[in-house]
């Protein structure tokens, strides 16, 4: 089967309007998906924060608070771990390297913590973006191999 060949064990896609209520929905859904395999409680907390940050960024920055955008969250589990992708079709990021610097925020009210949290809680983070096209954040979380007897 396709899923087996590509090493994908399970997959989930969530799409929702860019309204703040959906931040909690997204992180709880992804955490429930992640919890299908043995995960430490602490790791689930880390995943929740990372998803919350990426989805919040799409709503706040990508769509600038416009509730009519769509945010897409895709989660895949393979042998190695979880691949979480958060995507919007918002305004995009001009300078990704700058945006990802800890403490950088384009908004004076914010601290620029989002990318820093994603970076420290996930094992890999990769951001692609195009101005006026949107932004895609891909995060990878290792699943520690449980030694089978």
């Amino acid at each position: 089967m396709g899923g087996q060949q590509s090493g994908i064990k399970n997959k989930m896609i969530l799409e929702f309007l860019s309204v703040p209520e959906n931040v909690g929905l997204a992180r709880v859904a992804v955490a429930a998906f992640a919890a299908q395999v043995d995960m430490k409680l602490n790791e689930l907390e880390e995943i929740k924060v990372a998803v919350s940050e990426a989805v919040s960024n799409s709503i706040i920055h990508g769509y600038g608070g416009d509730p009519n955008g769509m945010v897409r969250v895709e989660v895949e589990r393979n042998e190695e771990g979880l691949v979480i992708t958060v995507e919007d079709k918002g305004k995009g990021i001009e300078d990704i390297a700058l945006a990802m610097q800890p403490d950088y925020s384009s908004s004076p009210e914010r601290m620029g913590l989002g990318f820093a949290f994603m970076q420290s809680f996930m094992d890999h983070l990769d951001v692609t973006s195009e101005v006026n096209q949107g932004t895609r954040v891909r995060m990878f979380k290792n699943i520690e191999k449980v030694v089978e007897k």
Partner: protein, 121 residues
């Protein structure tokens, strides 16, 4: 999210329950501001015992209130954060500038105030 406010001497206590994220950041900010305007406390104690989740949106609101109190000569104290919340407070650097206390009134963060005396005085 719910907040229960009470005045204890010159301290305004805000006991918060639930999750602090983008969904309720505006309400969280507005309720704190309204109660600060009204009570004009010397110290704002944010009791985080009942907070099960926080992210950058919630941390941003806390930092904003810290700045306001500092400007007005007041103090902000974080009381009893759960481990995952405390970890984010520390990672964000807020733990360095704010006083964090446990249930015994002992300071657990790196903030530069000392224990209960910071609250009581």
């Amino acid at each position: 999210m719910q907040i229960f406010f009470s005045m204890e001497g010159k301290q305004l206590w805000a006991r918060i329950k639930g999750e602090l994220d983008l969904e309720n950041a505006d309400t969280f900010r507005q309720e704190l501001e309204a109660n600060l305007d009204h009570a004009r406390p010397e110290v704002l104690v944010l009791d985080l015992t009942g907070v099960t989740f926080i992210d950058s949106s919630g941390l941003g609101v806390i930092l904003g209130r810290y700045r306001r109190l500092k400007k007005e000569g007041g103090k902000l104290i974080i009381y009893r954060p759960q481990p995952q919340v405390r970890r984010l407070l520390e990672l964000s650097g807020l733990g360095k500038i704010m006083t964090i206390m446990n249930e015994n009134g002992e300071q657990i963060g790196e903030g530069f105030n000392n224990g209960w005396s910071a609250i009581r005085n």
